[in-house]
Amino acid sequence: MTTQSTPRVLAAALATAVVIALLSIRLNAFRDYQIAEIAIEVTAVAGLTILTGLSGQISLGNGAFMAIGAYTTALLLLHLNWPFIVVLVVAAAITAVAGAVVGVAAARLHGPYLAGATLLLGVALPSLAYAYPGVFGADQGLNVNFTTPAFLGVNFPLTRWEAWVCSAVALVTLVLLANLGRSRVGRSWRAVRDDEVAAALAGVNVARARVLAFVVSAACAGMAGALLAIVTGLVAPEAFSITLSIALLTAAVIGGLGTLPGAVWGSLVIVLVPTYATDVATSHGLSTSVASNIPIAAYGAVLILVMLLFPQGIQGAVRWLLGLFGISSARTWRTAALPDARPEKEGTQ
């Protein structure tokens, strides 16, 4: 099975890439921009859902990792003008190192203490931009100049190119994470999540597994930050407030914690619901004070509904629907509802 599945994942990823490429040509420029936004969100949320759903560690600080990736990108493009692909790799590497540092501390913490420590990271780290205005540009931030490559011609829309770049990174990330989750590393994460003592007795290095999960999660967030930097064109501390970290976790939970399809669902909700709700609110002539709060209300309503109806997130609902039609979902990733929840049963034997 395992030997067969990697080519299948790759084939599916390629098919998706073709679909996105076609969509990006057919849709208007703003929809292309939204595809890029969704891809960025997917990249970050996929990393977080691995950390929380698979290794059982919560993080309220992944927005700070995105900030590290974004500032790395801005500084490298600004001062060294490296090609973006190199910058992306360096941003991921630097954020991974930051993730390792946080992970070492996090490996000793559990539950609310871990949430508190990562929350501190999410709140405090972006403030460094104010402490070193000469390097990070304080609240004005750093401008990032990103253009379409010359071979595409001058008339190629920038937003389409951004959609392509971001989607490519998101797809590669999903393929890599899918393989990682299936590998020995992924199994050790699940073992640690389900029972640390049993995992340790079985020979899993618990601390190393937990730190590694943080490294992977941070690297994903770093790449997402790098993409965000080129797409928005500005890296400023206001963009990395604590609400960003919470939005990432919300997306992972709405989509279905611990599942990569869930990361995609959650990202779609986070990106599309506010825009859609704004359009609806403004087109119905509501007063400003009401209309401006509708997106927030819609976001809350979606969160409550999903949690009430499908505690395992949208992916849980999808699986339930597939089950109704007799399509087995046994081959998908086993659900990990919440970090501390015990699995209902083992996978197919």
Partner: protein, 460 residues
């Protein structure tokens, strides 16, 4: 042994489905940019204005009956209190104009979206306005970090980016950002005008600075330092808007013996400065920048902060004697023709909001936009609006002339000094004008301030 296999094809299938969902969403709302707009309102009175060329869809966002413009505003989030009143006030003035013949018969359709003062959201909503809703121009986008996130995008797209709601000097870059124009008095000019007043009226006194640690505060300090002798400044304290504990800064000002404290702060931090000083028994003469000194906002904040701390204060009493500056007429000055006119529009179209400095600001900047649109001509392109402003705008509801030219994209060039008394700002002395250079002189403005037109509509 087969284990449960995690993701594979299903995961990828979901991505494909997701992408399709985006496509589905788009089909609903991304149709022809102008068809929806033209149906919304019928400009009936267009025929009554001059009957020269027929009205055409001369630019994106312009139809024979409407002009659609967009903006990003903090309607929710920490920057919303006060600032969220600005866009509805502009919309109220546009509603007045629409009801009185529109701009060459076209109605202005003002679409402002919430960015919660987050640059990432600004980038999204402005792209939505430009790429999907095809607005003619971005008008009065609020905030420095937020607007910086879209300045280069708007200039690359050649979308007029007029009258940014921020006093950052960074909007004045006609060579690199020819589409972008500031409007309000920039913080450097403001710092110079306040600095000169303090240097003259408090000569020899010990002076302390309290400023926000960003371009707003630092531009202000730059202007102050141009006018106040360095040796008189005994302490320079900054704050970051995310940390409400200003006690160490106030204690340092007190320890340095500051007799005059000049504050470049937003309203919440002006209130914190005042209350913390009170607690520490420190009562210097306060001089506050325009942004942080709206008497109505400030008085409300003082009372609510004190209440949170278990004390009762009289907000108006605490603001008494604060020295500040103004570049628009004071809302308390009912004899001013502009204030009286905007009050009338407010009462008719925006009565739910308090008539404060934010509302007056929103209407005054909207008036300036209508003025520029009328100057741009009957069937303007986007470039026509930019060149209309580049050729200069006549002074309107503000107290000093605009700097606009093809080489200068700053707005208002001067202000008056005022003192707050019983919640009302009273002008002291004449209007002063200056430039942003360290050596540029500060001159008394000798021109006469125009009266508000009886119709309330600017002449082209």
């Amino acid at each position: 042994m087969k284990r449960s296999l995690p993701l594979r094809a299903p995961a990828i299938a979901v991505v494909a489905a997701a992408a399709l969902a985006v496509a589905a969403c788009s089909s609903g709302s991304s149709s022809s940019p102008s068809s929806g707009a033209s149906a919304t309102t019928g400009a009936s009175s267009g025929a009554s204005s001059s009957s020269s060329a027929a009205l055409t869809a001369s630019a994106p966002g312009i139809t024979p009956t409407t002009i659609t413009i967009g903006s990003h505003q903090p309607l929710t989030g920490p920057a919303a209190p006060g600032y969220s009143e600005i866009a509805p006030a502009s919309a109220a003035y546009f509603a007045y104009v629409n009801a009185h013949g529109g701009v060459y018969g076209r109605d202005i359709d003002y679409k402002y979206l919430d960015d919660a003062y987050n640059p990432t959201q600004t980038a999204t909503v402005v792209r939505q306005l430009v790429l999907q809703d095809n607005v003619y121009a971005i008008f009065d986008g609020l905030g420095t970090p937020t607007h910086l996130a879209v300045e280069s995008f708007l200039n690359a797209q050649k979308v007029p980016d007029v009258f940014v709601a921020s006093g950052c000097d960074c909007w004045d870059q006609p060579t690199t950002d020819p589409e972008t124009f500031g409007w309000q008095l920039d913080y450097i000019r403001e710092g110079k005008i306040l600095g000169q007043y303090v240097a003259k009226h408090f000569a020899g006194k010990k002076i302390g600075y309290f400023y926000q640690d960003d371009e707003f505060g630092m531009d202000g300090v730059k202007g102050l330092d141009d006018e106040i002798p360095k040796s008189d400044v005994v302490s320079r304290q900054s704050y970051v808007p995310t940390n409400v504990n200003v006690a160490p800064a106030v204690a340092a000002l007190r320890a340095a013996g500051a007799q005059v404290v000049i504050s470049f702060s937003i309203p919440a931090f002006t209130a914190l400065l005042k209350l913390t000083s009170l607690k520490l028994g420190f009562s210097p003469q306060l001089v506050v920048s325009n942004v942080g000194s709206d008497p109505i906002t400030l008085s409300g904040l003082l009372e609510s902060f004190a209440k949170q701390g278990g004390a009762t204060v009289n907000g108006n009493a605490l603001t008494n004697g604060i020295i500040t500056d103004g570049y628009a007429p004071s809302v308390g000055d009912t004899s001013n023709s502009w204030t009286a006119f905007f009050k009338k529009v407010h009462d008719q179209y925006d009565a739910k909001a308090p008539f404060d400095g934010n509302v007056l600001y929103g209407m005054a900047v909207a008036y300036t936009f209508v003025q520029a649109m009328l100057k741009a001509g009957r069937n303007p392109t986007r470039a026509d609006l930019v060149s209309a402003i580049n050729s200069g705008l006549a002074q309107g509801p503000v107290v000093a002339p605009y700097a606009y030219s093809s080489t200068d994209h700053d707005g208002v060039t001067g202000a008056y000094i005022g003192v707050i008394n019983n919640g009302v700002l009273t002008q002291q002395g004449s209007v002063l004008t200056t430039d942003t250079s360290p050596t540029g002189a500060i001159a008394t403005y000798t021109g006469t301030e125009p009266q508000a037109p009886a119709s309330g509509i600017p002449s082209p």
